[in-house]
């Protein structure tokens, strides 16, 4: 089978890891197109032809060029017949998965990415200094968001964000929550539901989850518990 599907990604990007794991786990043939964000490869005119937003991940498939990981995940579920649990066709379950996927933009994604970028990425990429007060403020927003996930999304004995099977919502959430670990933040500390759920998502998607997070595991400091590989 010809690989007409191309994934443009960098495993340092949380949503890139989501699609990479999803494709690998689902055994969908695709061409791996690495875009090195650290080298600014997403900012070239050449890449702009592939993704007008100049971000990863994105895909090229037959005649469509598509960006935005959540939109891509939905497209893959339709076009490549992903196993039902990833994106349920049952209307109510799909609505619940959608609800998390929309909610996360200004919550999980915003708080994890902001903390990671401010404390870890910007000082390394741009030489910026970290204002402890501002870092504390971002940490507090991250704490609130993860507490909400601990108590509300995972607080009712449900093994996954939506019911008893893993969905795209879990993968999007877990890959995001891994990110601030590189900045020395332990998302699992004091959050037993989140701890067990993270391990559940990891087990359900390994060995790809660990492969995708190899660099994350390498960068995170010893103060953050590492998964047993």
């Amino acid at each position: 089978m010809a690989k007409s599907l191309k994934l443009y990604y960098d495993l340092m990007s949380q949503p890139s890891r989501v699609l990479w794991i999803l494709l690998e786990k689902s055994k969908i043939p695709y061409e791996r197109c690495l875009v090195n964000l650290g080298k600014g490869e997403h900012l070239t005119d050449q890449f702009k032809e592939i993704n007008r937003f100049q971000k990863v991940p994105c895909i090229v498939d037959s005649q469509i060029k598509l960006a935005e990981s959540v939109a891509i995940a939905r497209y893959l579920a339709r076009e490549y017949q992903l196993p039902e649990h990833w994106y349920p066709t049952d209307s109510r379950r799909q609505a619940r998965v959608d609800e998390y996927l929309e909610w996360q933009h200004h919550n999980t994604r915003a708080s994890c990415a902001t903390y990671f970028q401010y404390v870890w990425l910007r000082p390394r990429m741009m030489g910026s200094t970290v204002d402890p007060k501002r870092a504390e403020q971002y940490k507090s927003q991250l704490d609130s968001c993860l507490d909400f996930i601990e108590q509300v999304f995972l607080g009712h004995g449900s093994p996954y964000i939506v019911g008893d099977q893993i969905s795209i919502a879990d993968l999007v959430a877990a890959c995001e929550i891994e990110q601030p670990k590189m900045a020395g933040y332990d998302p699992c500390a004091g959050r037993p539901n989140l701890t067990q759920w993270m391990e559940r998502v990891r087990n359900a998607t390994n060995p790809y989850y660990d492969q995708a997070h190899k660099l994350v595991y390498k960068i995170m400091p010893d103060s953050v518990p590492k998964p047993k590989l």
Copy 2:
């Protein structure tokens, strides 16, 4: 027909207007449940039972309580057989609509809402002062986002964000772009594509568009051109 569908909304909220217009235009019977944000009615324990995120809009329908306007719009398209153009079943067109709906969270929504809240809402609700430098920074982000919409999404002669028919993407975008007008910002100035497209979306959804934006039109200062009613 019994109205089993309830919409909780406040027309000062952009995504509330999206769903209100969508339901009115599609003639779907529903119960209007006003939640006065200005009076903090979304912050009560009673409302928390309806929406755990304590935001509007949200719906209650048969046995589902659902939040997040984009997730709700998709649910309505499925469950209430909205006209095809709102959320195309054609996979590629749907992917394009999804792409905008995911992209807008950290772009149109973030920049319009941030500018509006900082310059107009917070001073009135919380008595905060406006730092001109910060306001200029938010304005600049808003300018960039709208320039991108002008040039990229609407820059290729396409009457709507996705092709030649109005979709949820247009309604979500237009309702968001109306918001900073209340803070004296004219999104259409120097943007001919955006100007024509805003008018197109309004005409395609009137009289409901104007009804939903009644308070917006009333609040916006005379420096911003008002639609001819």
